[in-house]
Every structure is written in structure tokens, then in C-alpha cells.
């Protein structure tokens, strides 16, 4: 007997790798995190996991460090995302100009995005080392400062340095996406506006920005989620210090899980982050009106 599959069965089989991948790498870890958030789990004793109800959530919500980390995460995410969006759009507009050698600049711009975070963070630690770092050396040499700046040793400067690193590394992502959209805006729109006497700012406000609105909405949602969850940059640059001044929620969850051996508490913090981001993203998409035009059409 010859075994034959129907078109529908073949279709399901072709989808199977994706379903498996999403199940294994997305659904299962989230489900496991939710499960862990209801048990007490010391990773050194993986076989002993008593159910503790909402204790882990109560622990997190009553911990002053969680709330400190939460507000710092808002500052870190807010400034990083706003600066990336503003600088990213500015750079994309510059790179959209038909100048000679522009392609080389576009290629170079990707550099920070390509280099692994660990390399960048360790390099920045050296650059911003207040004793032997080149940043202080250069600023002192040209007379811009009189004494060394403690870039990573005071709470405000450490947060500013961490934000600077994040902006430097991820602005190219915004540039690429915005530039791609800019290149698809019909030039006739600008020509017509010029004929009607619209200046540069007016053309930017009434043509470019509305055309970029949807892509910016997507970029800002992604950058907000990725930055809010960001762990390795802060961990490698400041480890949350000095004090706990650059702690964010990702670092809080890591420290609870690994340093404090409270995997359940770390998982609870992770689930709270998931809920916060989900709610924030939905609110932002609703407010920004993303996709409304398509629905109307």
C-alpha cells in the first residue's frame, strides 16, 4: 500500500518545525517561569520545589529594591528609547541625502550594532575608567574639564554612562529601519509641497513624520521592550552600581535567582516584567494608533 499525505497534512507538517520551535523556545520557557514563580526553588537543590502560593510575588512587591529597580528601569528605558528615536531619525535623514560615499557611512553606522555587547561594555569600562580611561584623558588634555570625572562611580553619572552605551549601540537599529522607510516615501509628495511653498521644517512635519509614524511606533515598542529587559549591558558596565543606582528589573531578577539562590523570586520578578511590558505595549499601540489605517481600509 502506498502511503499518501493530503495537502492539508503536508501543510501541517511544514508548519511543524515552527510550531515546535515556538513551543520549545517561547511557550515552554514562559510557562516554566510562571510555574517557578509559585514554588520555592534553590538551584543548588533542583529536586526540592515546594509550592508556596503567592509568597514569591509578595516578597517581590514588598522589597524596596524591586521598586527602586523599577523606577530606575523606567529612567533607563525612557531616556534610552527617546534618545535612540531622536538621534536615529536625525541620522537617517542625514544618510538619506544623495551624497558621494554615503553607502560607506551607512555601512560604518552598523558597527556598534554588530559588535558583541560584552566587547563593547568592557571597552567602555576602559574608556570611562576615571583613572586611566581615555575619555578623561582627552577631556583634561583639551582643557574641557579640570578634574577627572567619575563616570561610573557616582549614581547619576553611572546611569548616564549606561544610557550612553545603550544609545550608541542601538541607535543604528533605528537608523536602518527609519532609513528603509524614508527611501519608500514618494518624492512626488516633496515636489508637490515645494511647489506649494512648504519649507524644510514644514515638509518634515507634514510629510516625513506622518510617513514615519507607523515604523516609529514599531521601533519604539521594540526598543522599549528590549531595553526594559536589558541585562548584559548594565551587568557588564556597572553591575547595577555604584550602590544599587543602576539596578534595573532584569538585574534584580538575576541577582535574586543566582546570587541569592531564590529562583522562585527571580521568576516572579520576570513574570511581573512580562505583564508590565505587555500592558505598556498594548497601551502604547492603542495610543499611537498603530494599524488603525489598515483596519479602516
Amino acid at each position: 500500500m502506498r502511503f499518501r499525505l493530503s495537502d492539508r497534512q503536508v501543510g501541517v507538517l511544514f508548519m511543524l518545525p515552527l510550531i515546535l520551535a515556538v513551543g520549545i523556545f517561547l511557550v515552554w520557557p514562559i510557562a516554566e517561569a510562571v510555574r517557578l514563580s509559585f514554588v520555592r526553588y534553590n538551584p543548588l537543590r533542583p529536586d526540592d520545589q515546594p509550592f508556596v502560593g503567592l509568597d514569591n510575588y509578595l516578597f517581590v512587591l514588598e522589597d524596596p529594591l524591586f521598586w527602586e529597580s523599577f523606577w530606575q528601569a523606567i529612567v533607563w528605558t525612557g531616556w534610552s528609547t527617546v534618545l535612540q528615536a531622536v538621534i536615529g531619525v536625525g541620522l537617517a535623514l542625514l544618510l538619506h541625502q544623495p551624497l558621494k560615499g554615503m553607502n560607506a557611512f551607512r555601512g560604518l553606522l552598523l558597527f556598534p550594532y554588530i559588535v558583541p555587547t560584552v566587547v563593547i561594555a568592557l571597552n567602555w569600562r576602559w574608556l570611562f575608567n576615571s583613572e586611566i580611561g581615555i575619555v578623561n584623558h582627552l577631556l583634561l588634555s583639551v582643557g574641557l574639564i579640570d578634574e577627572k570625572i567619575a563616570w561610573l562611580s557616582t549614581p547619576s553619572m553611572a546611569m548616564a554612562s549606561a544610557i550612553m552605551l545603550n544609545v550608541w549601540k542601538y541607535t543604528p537599529f533605528v537608523v536602518i529601519v527609519v532609513l528603509a522607510r524614508l527611501q519608500t516615501i514618494p518624492t512626488e509628495l516633496y515636489d508637490a509641497a515645494k511647489v506649494d511653498g512648504a519649507g524644510v521644517l514644514r515638509r518634515f512635519r507634514d510629510i516625513t513624520l506622518p510617513q514615519l509614524a507607523e515604523v516609529l511606533a514599531v521601533v519604539i515598542v521594540f526598543r522599549t521592550i528590549w531595553t526594559f529587559n536589558k541585562f548584559e549591558e548594565i551587568y557588564l558596565l556597572t553591575r547595577g552600581g555604584p550602590g544599587t543606582s543602576t539596578y534595573n528589573l532584569a538585574l534584580y531578577a538575576f541577582d535574586q535567582s543566582i546570587a541569592n539562590l531564590r529562583m522562585g523570586v527571580g521568576a516572579a520578578a520576570g513574570v511581573i516584567m512580562l505583564v508590565l511590558l505587555l500592558a505598556g505595549s498594548m497601551l502604547y499601540i492603542r495610543v499611537s494608533g498603530f494599524g488603525r489605517e489598515d483596519k479602516a481600509a
Partner: protein, 451 residues
Amino acid sequence: MTLRLTRRGALASGLAAAGGTLAAPAYAQTRERVARIWGEPGPYIGVFTNGMNEWAQRNAPGLRFESEQIAWDAVYTKLATDLAARRPPALISVESPIAYQLAAEGLLEPMQDVNTAIRARERLVDGFTVDDFGTWKGTQYAVPLHHQGCLFVVQDDVRQEAGLSDPTNWTWNDLLNGAKAIQAKRQGSAGFTMALGRNLCGDYHIQQLIWQAGGMTWDPGRSFETTFNSPATIEAYEFIKELYGTMPRSAVEFSFLQVVDQHVTGRTGSSFYWGRTMGRAFDEAKPIYEKMEYYLNPAHPRTGQRWSWTDINGFIMPRQNNPFIREAKEAMAHVMNSTDWMVRYANSLFPNVGPVFKDQATAPALVNNPMYQQKKRSVDVIFTGFVPYACNSGHEIKKGINPLAGIGHGRNVWSQVAQRILVNNENPRAAVEWGHRQFEDIRRENRRLLG
């Protein structure tokens, strides 16, 4: 000929390729048995592993020992994930506080047989006992490997330039005044440097000052009561606050590497550190090396104590899911019974890796090391002079073994207290009370370890 790919063919090929890819690592692992050995960053664990492979080649064909270097503030991450995956390393070179904790957790294989095979008790250098390395409730869970004491490193030319006396008998007052004098004499240079970052190095440097003042975190003599908020602890933090004025402002982010960098680049007149500062200077900064001297830590004026945070480092072995117990024990005994291998081990990062066995400490190949020849007084302080003051968080002021210390190891509470004082301008008493609550939480959550 045209090649036609049917849907069925595409599916079959895709599934076969995916299956092959998934099976490849498992197949590769069956080709050779690999036992992983964890050690600190540095060449020494590699040297020891080479010695174990010498045994494997003769006695266990197909077995290979492989070293993995893990920083000790990352050990929990690795250990937790590997234990959860039921794939622990065969052997771990570890500081004794973590050994005590893991032993109390019931996670370790007893090591009496290895210690007997290498005659550890008879060969051990004076001042240490086998129990110091990781014994819990009468069972030895660790095999002595090396020791490293944190000491007072001074640039003697800078000291003399500032008109300061021989630091051999210095007290805390001399340290503070000396650091101030150096700072005043050498503009742009720190008088003293220690780690005050929220990291393991900060914890170590701070703890030895607490002990010198007579403070402790937990007292094994009083049912491991949390005793962190004692006047002695507050005094130590007040001293650190005063001393911070002589340090680089960025000392609040310093860890191991930054303290050594600061010293070997000539940016400080003195510092707290282990033997590595001398080794780095020997390799990279000869003028600094030539004027560098090691001393016992300055004594507390009242207690006279000079306690040193000491890595009392031994080999421990995970008990569960470890298929290499017998072979790793035999290979370890092979290396440790060889004075030649143990000298190679100590010489691989001289003088950072203190010899634990008498035959190793007196072997010509170690004594003839160029640094030993040139800096005999300092190296003697590093290898033997500090031993009466050697203790660590797992054996505070030598008042009893404490398994809670291993848990404290990963949390950086000691350095967080310093940061609250130095960065947030919190009152030392209030900051110490905050730290006390953290340590009390650790005690409450892990009472089961105390038995």
C-alpha cells in the same frame, strides 16, 4: 538530467538533516569521555589539569580532563545551572566558604580517601589544617590545593619619599596618616587603594578590616547568631570612610583587576592585595616591581589584630551525577603526590598561588624562582608570614566553621554597606543595621544548613 524535488522528498530530507544536527553533539560526546575541572581564572588550573591528564593517558584511555576557568563571583551561576542540568563538573577548585556551604547542603563527595592517599595531614605547611579547607561535621570534603592571603602592598620608594617609617609594625593610624602623607607628597597619586565596588573583592577587603577591629558577621560559638551590627563593625566602616579620602574616587567601582591596575601603573602608594600584584609588576612594570614590598596588614590599634582574607583553596567533588569520581580522585592524588607537579602549579602564577605542602614549599624549583630570590622577605610574608592571621568568611577569626558564609559570598552585602555609606552618604550605623538585616535573612532562610 533534471532534479525534481517532491514535497515528500523535501520533508524527509529536512527531518533527516534536523535529526542529524540534533544527534551530532551527543555522538561527539561518546567519542571521548571529558571530565571538566573548574578553577579560578589563571594558568594554574590548566597546569593541574595537565598533571591529571598525565595520569589519564597511563590509566584511563579515552578519558580527558579539561579545565574551565570561572571567576568566583560567577561560580554560583555556573554551578546552579550545571547542577540543575544534572551535569556538574568532575572537580572544583574552590574557596573554603563555598566548600563549607556545599558540604552542609549534602552535595559533596567525602575526600578522606584522597587526603589519606596524599598524606595531606603530614605534608601540610604549618598553620593550616586539612579541616580548614572544607571539613563539615567531622567529614573531610576538600583536598588542600593552595592558599592566598590578602596583604598590605607598599611602594617603598614612595613611602620613603613621604618620610614614613617601616610598615612592619604599622597600625590603622599609621596606615591612614601614611596614605595621607603619600597623597600630599605625590599629586595625582592615591595614598592607598582597596576595592570598594559591589563585588567579591570589595567584600574581602572590607571583611578583613572588620575582623581586625574584632567584629564578625555570624558567631559560630553562639549558634551562628548574626553579630554584624557590633560596635567593631561600625568602627571598621567609619575607618573605611576616612581612608576613602586617600583613595581614588572611583574605588567604589573597583574589583580585583582595578586594584592591581592602579598599583602596577604607579597610581597608588599602597594597596590591599594578594600576591598577584607582585607577579603583574614583574611581568609588566619592572620599576614598580623593584620597589614593591609586602607587609602584614596594619594592626588595629586596640586589638592588635592583622587578619587577612585568605583563599583557603581546596578541591571539592560534586557527589550526584558525577561519573568521574573514582578517576578524578586517582588523578588528583597522582598530581598531589608529585612535588614536581605541585611546584609547577605554584610557579605558574608566582607568588599568587601559595604552596600548601612542605615538600612543595621547600622544593629548589620553587625557592629558586627569580621573584623568590629577589624579594625573599616579601615572598616569605606571602607564603608563610601571614599564616597566623589567615582566616576567611567561612572561618571568621578562626572561631569555627560557618556554612552560611558561602551564601553570603554571592550577595556582596559587606560591600553594599560600604557603598551605602560612601555613595549614598548613609550614616555608618544605619548602613550596618541594613547589612545586619540582610545577614539575618540569610541565616533565617538557611537555618537548615546549621543542623
